[in-house]
Subunit: 208 residues, 2 copies
């Protein structure tokens, strides 16, 4: 029997730097399976199929929807986005830790299907830094920025729907914290059972 | 206001190497306050007062007992042993993380008084390694060793009274895990509250 892996969901308002944290974690932990979302929108310049997204047709997406093949999905401005369920669940069952980086709405949907997951909420250290990050994204108007700020602030209140909060002040510190959470979660007592004395060299307490 | 520190309790049957883990952690994390037990037994050769134990008189110990000054205590072969409560609670209140290394009975008593603590159970990787460690302690008879083994095995079943299990296979790995648990516990969402937008540079989510 293989010990099942962890399903790790990293989420938070946009502008918190969750994507950057995941990229850094990906370099440190190549053993983790990073789930790739599927979308029906067209690839932008430089985007690679299977890396940034799985680019699929609308028909294919709707077929998958019919078969309940998504952990979560959304329709945004006529384009579908979703997390295919099968590769995630197969990797977890094979003992791999799987990481999803998704928005708050998506994370809450995944939690309904997979409450055993580890839900990590990334928080900006301050209002000012959140504003800078939202602003740096492009050349949006003050009105658009203020709208995004209001949305992010509202979303921040949802942090207590998550298991962990990581304040993204310094990138490498934040990545350290996410790594520690993954290590600690694997040590949680309720993930183990007592195996007893089965032989001199066999473990006494084993993952359930 | 200071964020309170964590109360970390490291426990497990004897022969699991919990003392060695704590010594290594002490070198890595000098910021952690390591609680020193009090005892009425006489110091052995090389033992330093205030380091191995606080060596105090029976009268002093019983005075402290009268004042409910212990987080846990026990009487073993006419000698008292106990964890003074005040220095531990004062350090936690001052924002320090405090570590207690105690036996299982003691840990369960501490948990009654401080359920908010982080309880870590150290487990030997196998029966054979447990026997070697128990054996290496001295030149005890097979009978004594077998008794200790039976006791340790019985105690191992209590692992699910703890929050975390750390299998002590390789010392530095085990210490890494304990460190990760401490980091992760500080990220637990229920340790935070939403502070809201109080000013551009102020944190949005703060420890409770």
């Amino acid at each position: 029997m293989v010990d099942p892996g962890l399903l790790i969901v990293i989420s938070g308002p946009s502008g918190t730097g969750k994507g950057t944290i995941c990229k850094s974690l990906f370099r440190r932990r190549p053993d983790i399976f990073f789930s790739v979302s599927a979308t029906t929108r067209l690839p932008r310049d430089g985007e690679i199929d299977g890396e940034n997204y799985q680019f699929i047709t609308k028909e294919k997406f709707e077929d998958m929807l019919d078969q309940d093949d998504f952990l979560e999905w959304a329709l945004v401005y006529d384009n579908y986005y979703g997390t295919p369920q099968k590769p995630v669940m197969e990797a977890v069952a094979a003992g791999k830790d799987v990481l999803l980086e998704i928005d708050i709405q998506g994370a809450m949907k995944v939690r309904e299907k997979a409450p055993q997951g580890v839900y990590i909420f990334i928080v900006p250290p301050s209002l000012e830094i959140l504003r800078n990050r939202i602003n740096n994204r492009g050349t949006d108007s003050m009105e658009v920025i203020n709208k995004r700020m209001a949305k992010a602030l509202g979303e921040l209140e949802q942090f207590n729907e998550y298991n962990y909060v990581v304040i993204n002040d310094f990138l490498e510190d934040a990545v350290d914290k996410v790594e520690s959470i993954i290590v600690a979660e694997k040590c949680r007592a309720d993930r183990f059972i007592f195996a007893g004395a089965r032989g001199p060299e066999r473990p006494l307490i084993i993952p359930r």
